[in-house]
Symmetry: C2
Subunit: 362 residues, 2 copies
C-alpha cells in the first residue's frame, strides 16, 4: 500500500523548510508554515510556499526544520499537541538530536530523523527553491522504534522533493558529513581567514582557484557555528588527520627550501597524488559520475540577440545543450560561450555552428 | 613612441605558451613555436598557434614558458644565439628564476620576468585558449638592470593578451602567490586526500561545497610539485599560520564536545567570522568587485529548442544576458535556467518572459 502525503506542516521556514514546502506544494500537498518569527513564515507564504500558521486539523507529516539543538523541543511540543501522524527533521547532524529526543521522552514510533544534503550560501525563505533537493541524497535515520507509517511518510516526502532516500545510522551519518561537508567548511574558512589582513597587492592576484577553495566560507556564520558545535568530535577527528598531513607538508617544504630536497619532494608529490585520487572519487552534480559531456567553445559578439541567434542555430542541430558558461571580456567587446553537450555530438555541433559562420574555438 | 610587437618565439608550448601564441596571433603577430618535445610544438601549430620551429631571423620577443627551474637555461641559450631583442618568462615564481638568471650570467638589460595569473585544470596545447588571460592580472618583475626596450615589449605582450600589467618585486610576488594560489592548492589537496580511503557511503554524500574546496586538487601533479618546490619557504609560511589556526579550531571543537563549551564556541565563531571577512576581499571574476547583477530563474522543459526559444524571447527584451546557468534534474524532465542580467533590468526581463508564458520563479 503506497503512503499518500496530503498535508504537511513545516516548523521553521528558513531556506530548507521553505524549499521543502515549495517542492511538495508543486505535487499538490497542502502546506502549513510555522516559524518562531511569524514574519518569516508570512514571507514564506508570500513566496507561494503555503499557508502561514498552524494546521486546523491533523496533518500527515510535520517537518521540523530548526537548528539541531532545538529539534527535540519542537518535536515534544508538536507531539503533545498531536499535530501530525508522523514527524521528521532536517538537521545536518543526527546523533545529538536523537539523544535529546530520547531524553525528552518523545514518541519514537512516529519519528524518523532526516537530512537533505542540499544548501546554498544564501539563507532564509527568499533563497528557497522548489528544486533545491532534486537529484541530491537525503539521509533518513530511522531508529529500531520507528514505525512503518513514519518511515513511509518520511520516504514519501523525500521522493516528492525529487531527492534520493539513503538510510544510515546516526553516527555513520555524522562522521560522513564531518568528512564531506563540515571539515571542508572549516578549512575553507581557515584559508579565507588568511586573506583578512593580507596586502591589497596580494589579494588582487586572486583567481578562480582560491575563489573556489574559499567559496563556502561566505556561508551563514551562526548556522555553521551551530552545525560544527553539534558535530564537534567527528569534525575534530577529520581535521586532526588534516593537521597531521599539513604539518608533514610544511616540514617537507622547509626541507626543500633547505638542503634535504630530494626525499622531501617525494613526500610533497605523494600529498598531491593523494589529493588527485581523493578528488576523483567525488561524484558529479547529481550523485553519479560525471556524464561524458564535451565543451564546444564559441566566440560571440556582445550585441543583444547574439545568444538568441547562437541557441537558435544550435537548436537546428537537434541536440540538447546540457549547460552553458559565458565569459565576458571586461571591455565587453566579445564573450566566450561554452556549450556543454553529449560528447558524441560535440563534433556535429561544432561543424554545424562553423557552417553557420560561428567562431568555434579549438 | 609605442613599442610594436611583430614577431614572437615561444619556448615551451604547453597550456600557457600556446595560449599566449594564440592570443598574439589574433592581433597579427607572427609566432614561432619551440618545445623540447617537438611533437608538442607541432600540436600547438596544428591548433593554429603559429609555425613550429625556431625563427629564421631576429624576433622582437622570446617568451620562455618552461618550468621555473629551467628558465635560466633556456634564457642563456637563447641569448647566446641572439634569438630576440627582448626576453620574458611566465614562471609562477619569480625570485628563484631571477637568482639563477643572474648566476648563469644572462644579460639582464634585455630580460623582464613575468607571470600571467591564469590557468586551467587541464594542461598542454590542446587546452590552450586565446582568451585565457583576458581581464587577468599579469605580474611583471623588471630588475633595475632591465632596459626600456625589454620593459616596453613585455608590456606590449601583456596588453595584446588582454591582461592587466602589474609591476611587483620578485619577493613580494612570490609571497602573494603563496597566499592566493600555492597554499590554497596544497590545502585543497590535503582535504581531497581525506577522501582517498573514505567509505563510499560517505563520499556519495558529497555536494557542491567539498567539490569546490577540492576542485584544484585535480591539477597537474608534476607542475604543482615544481611550483610548490620553487616557492617552498613562502608557501610554508602561509601554511604554518593556517596550521596554528587549525590546531586552535580542533582544540575548540574538542572543548565544545566536552564540558568547556561556551568560550570554545566563541573561538569557533571568530574563525568563521574571519573566514567571512577574508572571503569578502576576493575580487570578482575580472579583478573588480562583482557587478550589481540579478538572477532571473526560469523553469524550462527539456526538449531541444527550448533554450533557443527562451533566448529569443529574452532578446526581444533588448537586454544583455551576462551569464547563464542551467541545472537539469536527473530525470531530465525539466531544467532551471538562471539568467544573470543587470540588476536594474531584472524585473523588466521577468515581466517580459512571464508575458510570453515562461515559468519565471521567485
Amino acid at each position: 500500500m503506497a503512503v499518500e502525503l496530503r498535508q504537511v506542516v513545516v516548523y521553521g521556514t528558513g531556506l530548507i523548510g521553505t524549499s521543502i514546502a515549495l517542492a511538495v506544494r508543486e505535487a499538490g500537498v497542502r502546506t502549513f508554515l510555522v516559524d518562531s518569527a511569524p514574519g518569516v513564515a508570512r514571507t514564506a507564504a508570500a513566496r507561494g510556499a503555503g499557508e502561514a500558521g498552524e494546521p486546523d486539523a491533523l496533518v500527515d507529516l510535520a517537518v521540523i526544520a530548526v537548528p539541531p539543538a532545538r529539534v527535540a523541543d519542537v518535536l515534544i511540543d508538536a507531539q503533545r499537541r498531536g499535530v501530525a501522524r508522523a514527524y521528521t527533521d532536517v538537521a545536518s547532524v543526527k546523533a545529538l538530536p536523537l539523544e535529546r529526543v530520547i531524553a525528552a521522552g518523545c514518541d519514537l514510533s512516529s519519528y524518523v530523523g532526516g537530512h537533505p544534503l542540499a544548501g546554498r550560501e544564501r539563507s532564509g525563505p527568499m533563497a528557497a527553491r522548489a528544486d533545491l533537493f532534486v537529484g541530491r541524497p537525503w539521509v533518513l535515520t530511522p531508529s529500531s522504534a520507528s514505525g512503518g507509517q513514519a518511515r513511509g511518510l518520511a520516504t514519501a516526502l523525500v521522493e516528492l522533493c525529487g531527492a534520493t532516500p539513503v538510510e544510515m545510522e546516526p553516527d555513520a551519518h555524522d562522521h560522513a558529513v564531518a568528512l564531506v561537508s563540515h571539515a571542508p567548511h572549516l578549512l575553507a574558512a581557515l584559508m579565507a581567514a588568511r586573506l583578512e589582513h593580507a596586502p591589497d597587492s596580494a589579494v588582487r592576484l586572486s583567481g578562480q582557484g582560491v575563489r573556489d577553495v574559499t567559496r563556502i566560507a561566505a556561508g551563514d556564520r551562526a548556522l555553521w557555528e551551530e552545525i560544527l558545535g553539534a558535530n564537534a568530535d567527528a569534525v575534530a577527528d577529520v581535521l586532526e588527520a588534516v593537521a597531521d598531513d599539513l604539518s608533514g607538508a610544511v616540514a617537507a617544504l622547509r626541507r626543500i627550501a633547505g638542503a634535504d630536497g630530494e626525499r622531501a619532494r617525494l613526500e610533497l608529490a605523494e600529498v598531491l597524488r593523494r589529493g588527485n585520487t581523493g578528488h576523483a572519487r567525488i561524484p558529479g552534480k547529481h550523485g553519479a559520475p560525471p556524464a561524458p559531456y564535451s565543451v564546444v567553445p564559441v566566440l560571440i559578439g556582445d550585441q543583444p540577440g547574439e545568444l538568441a541567434r547562437l541557441f537558435s542555430d544550435a537548436g537546428e542541430a537537434k541536440l540538447n545543450i546540457e549547460d552553458v558558461r559565458i565569459e565576458h571580456s571586461p571591455n565587453q567587446r566579445a564573450g566566450l560561450v561554452e556549450l556543454l553537450v553529449n560528447a558524441d555530438r560535440a563534433e556535429d555541433l561544432a561543424a554545424e555552428l562553423r557552417e553557420r559562420g560561428w567562431d568555434v574555438q579549438g
